[in-house]
């Protein structure tokens, strides 16, 4: 038995050795850790498509300093698998750079494995605060931290919606609903802390379990609380369940701000139809006002959107665009400057990056913290210039409405008509 096992291992190791290309210009190998199966698979696969487009685009442009990009893929279906897969890519394939990983718990896991092996991890979309608060040296979070989603949502409520609702900020009744996973809780914590600084009290603040199949108690509680604005952090399945139940029980709010994946997914419209119209979404901008982008970025952006839509017959969701933006920044801003491709060198390059907003396809810039962020000195490798905005589902599609700089449109349908008038 164990003889055969050894034989198998031996054969496989031979296989992996010989499988490596022997070209003079060796490609740059990057480990991509995304959930390709399991509950996160939908978004993971979208992100994977976006990343493949980025790879194809850079390779068609001749690669990075003449070296092609090659991806090695790991199926980070859950945190345990994420760690195993990261370890595998690092130890067996000799990967020195990892990227991914869409969801926060996976990002936490992947970066953990990368850090212990001294591998450079370029996190594209994971958001939980803890990712950059563990004192890791080689983990860089290009997407936004969780708090930033919440801040964008609250800023939008305070600076924009209050005016439209014709209420003083102090009188606004804001409710907060979060999905009890790493991302939802992290964003929820951020919002709670942030509204306190704005002297606003939440009229409702609760988490719910990811396997919830019945939203009745939540909707009923919200009806009791009767908020003007409801900020909800959800994943797709629960977002749909919630909206349907809100309609069923006639829960009306003047404005609804959804946060990230559940509300930004493009097929929310196919799922719940016209019920989406008027919902605000705080997330990575799927498509920003092109005027804020640098001209060369705009060209890349156009090509990306065209390719993505050609491939998937739908525009990219915010997280897919963010995945593309982040990996493109790695290809164009970090790797070209590297010589040894050692993690420490990459870290130096990353820390030196100072890209203004509008440099990345989704309107972000890059400037990483290094224990020097004013309001939180524990943070390292967090991108200060990640842009999270607010956009709105409209009859035609979606339009960026906040912050004013990225906006393509003004917010409409505020207050939202009641369900029976929609």
């Amino acid at each position: 038995m164990s003889f055969f096992l050894r034989l198998a291992i031996f054969a496989l190791s031979l296989f992996t050795i010989t499988a490596g290309p022997v070209a003079a210009q060796e490609p740059i190998r990057i480990g991509v850790l995304l959930p390709l199966t399991g509950p996160f698979a939908k978004n993971g696969l979208e992100n994977w498509e976006a990343m493949q487009i980025a790879r194809d685009m850079i390779n068609e442009r001749g690669g990075v300093n003449g070296r092609k990009i090659e991806y090695l893929q790991g199926d980070a279906t859950n945190p345990n698998a994420a760690i195993s897969e990261t370890e595998r890519l690092i130890t067996r394939e000799g990967i020195k750079i990892t990227t991914g990983s869409f969801a926060s718990p996976l990002a936490i896991a992947v970066s953990q494995a990368a850090e212990r092996n001294g591998v450079f991890h370029w996190e594209t979309t994971g958001a939980a605060e803890i990712i950059t608060r563990r004192g890791f040296k080689h983990t860089f979070q290009v997407g936004a931290p969780a708090r930033k989603y919440g801040q964008a949502a609250v800023d939008f409520v305070v600076e924009d919606l209050a005016k439209r609702l014709k209420k003083p900020v102090a009188d606004l009744k804001i409710a907060l609903l979060w999905e009890n996973r790493a991302f939802g809780k992290s964003v929820g914590d951020g919002i709670r802390a942030y509204v306190e600084t704005k002297k606003i009290k939440l009229v409702y603040d609760e988490g719910y379990d990811q396997f919830a199949t019945d939203m009745t108690p939540i909707v009923q509680k919200l009806k009791d609380a009767a908020p003007d604005v409801l900020i909800a952090i959800s994943f797709p399945n629960d977002a749909i369940l919630f909206q349907r139940k809100a309609k069923e029980l006639n829960l009306n709010v003047a404005a609804f701000v959804g946060v990230s994946a559940g509300y930004s997914s493009p097929d929310l419209r196919t799922s719940i139809g016209d019920m989406v119209n008027g919902i605000f979404v705080a997330d990575f901008p799927p498509k920003v006002n092109p005027n804020v982008l640098k001209p060369e970025t705009r060209k890349v952006a156009d090509e990306f959107y065209k390719r993505y839509e050609a491939k998937l017959q739908r525009p990219p969701a915010g997280h897919a665009a963010a995945g593309f933006s982040a990996i493109w920044a790695l290809f164009t801003e970090v790797l070209p400057k590297a010589k040894t491709f050692q993690p420490d060198e990459l870290r130096e390059i990353a820390l030196k990056l100072d890209l203004p907003e509008g440099s990345l396809v989704n309107g972000s810039g890059i400037k990483f913290t290094n224990f020097d962020w004013a309001d939180d000195t524990k943070d390292a490798g967090q991108n200060l210039r990640a842009s999270i905005g607010v956009w709105q589902w409209t009859k035609q599609g979606n339009e960026q409405v906040f912050p004013p700089k990225l906006a393509t449109h003004e917010a409409i349908d505020v207050p939202m008509p009641d369900w029976n008038k929609r």
Binding site: L45, D75, E115, A182
Partner: protein, 338 residues
């Protein structure tokens, strides 16, 4: 409980195949030596993570087998004990600075208490009712961990700083982890062998095979079942602590998941329930196989590796219900007959 078909009634069905020194057969000795050699030679270094996972799962499968294989307590809730162990040592380390070398014993002890509670709660249940109740029990533990944020970090989980050192039981070298996991597996193997040779071990088998007859032999079935579950849970909890020290990140939803519980039960079932060697064989076969399938087919098409894996599982379960150990023993039978 379900009795798995075994070709001969000997507890180590491999014995007739291989010469034996005392309680240890050459086969077992060779197996252990091979496992050690695989760590020592470090030939395929890149496979060390698969190797150490294989050892870890061998240990966990052996621990599960004490309850499931010997005492007939088929639990699908062992991930709860695994989680309790992992959380205990990690919380003690993060909050009190207690070294995981000690914390793992505390974790094991607490997991044993949980195990005893589960055994008492399910004292009257058998068959599918027992299985489903253990599943529900683990879910309650998971949701408890998820919502006791101040202790467990809630959904964001707990991270152990990846600062290597013997005191914090964190290492950069895979080989050290491989040694730790191997020691864990060998230790539980030794526990299992000692159990097989002890009065208590015989009591458990008796309870599994016929509770009435066991009672007539002076065995208190409730105490036996509780003790078996506590022992199994405690050893699983220690495994949880080791896992935490290797993965350095605890996420309640995936740590205490039915999938993991299922894995613990699957390995002994494939290898041979109620034998010492079975769980080891199961882990040696399944763990590398699933890791390799994922790494080699994961890229081809999302889900393909699990399709192949699960199809294989169905076939194995239907055609080798006694596991690898029984299959090998049968092989021997045929040889002797002809």
């Amino acid at each position: 409980m379900a009795s798995f078909d075994r070709a001969s009634s000997a507890r180590s069905p491999l014995i007739p195949l291989f010469p034996q020194w005392g309680r240890v057969s050459i086969f077992e000795l060779a197996l252990i030596l091979t496992c050690i050699a695989l760590v020592v030679v470090r030939l395929p270094t890149s496979f060390q993570d698969v190797l150490l996972l294989t050892y870890m799962f061998a240990g966990l499968a052996l621990a599960w087998n004490i309850a499931g294989g010997y005492a007939g307590l088929i639990s699908f809730g062992h991930a709860a004990f695994f989680g309790v162990g992992a959380y205990t040592s990690t919380i003690l380390y993060l909050n009190l600075g207690l070294t995981p070398w000690i914390g793992l014993w505390v974790g094991g002890l607490l997991a044993a208490v949980f195990g005893a509670v589960l055994a008492l709660v399910c004292a009257r249940l058998r068959g599918p009712f027992f299985i489903l109740s253990t599943l529900a029990f683990a879910e309650v533990v998971r949701l408890g961990a998820l919502n006791w944020v101040s202790l467990t970090g809630g959904p964001e989980g707990l991270s152990i700083p990846p600062v290597s050192g013997y005191a914090n039981m964190v290492f950069t070298s895979k080989a050290i982890y491989a040694w730790i996991m191997l020691s864990y597996a060998v230790a539980i193997y030794a526990v299992t062998k000692a159990l097989e040779a002890s009065r208590f071990g015989y009591y458990l088998c008796a309870i599994r095979d016929d509770e009435d007859a066991a009672a007539a032999a002076g065995v208190n079935p409730l105490i036996g079942r509780t003790a078996a579950m506590a022992l199994s849970a405690g050893l699983t909890g220690i495994g949880g602590s080791l896992f935490a020290q290797y993965f350095l990140y605890l996420d309640p939803t995936f740590l205490i998941s039915p999938e993991l519980s299922f894995q613990f039960a699957l390995l002994p079932a494939v290898g041979g329930l109620g034998t010492a060697i079975g769980p080891v064989l199961g882990s040696l076969l399944i763990t590398p196989l699933s890791e390799l399938l994922r790494s080699h087919l994961g890229n081809a098409a999302a889900g393909l590796h699990l399709v192949i894996y699960s199809a294989g599982l169905i076939v194995v379960m239907l055609y080798f219900p006694g596991g690898l150990a029984a299959a090998i023993a049968k092989l021997d039978w045929r040889r002797r007959r002809s």
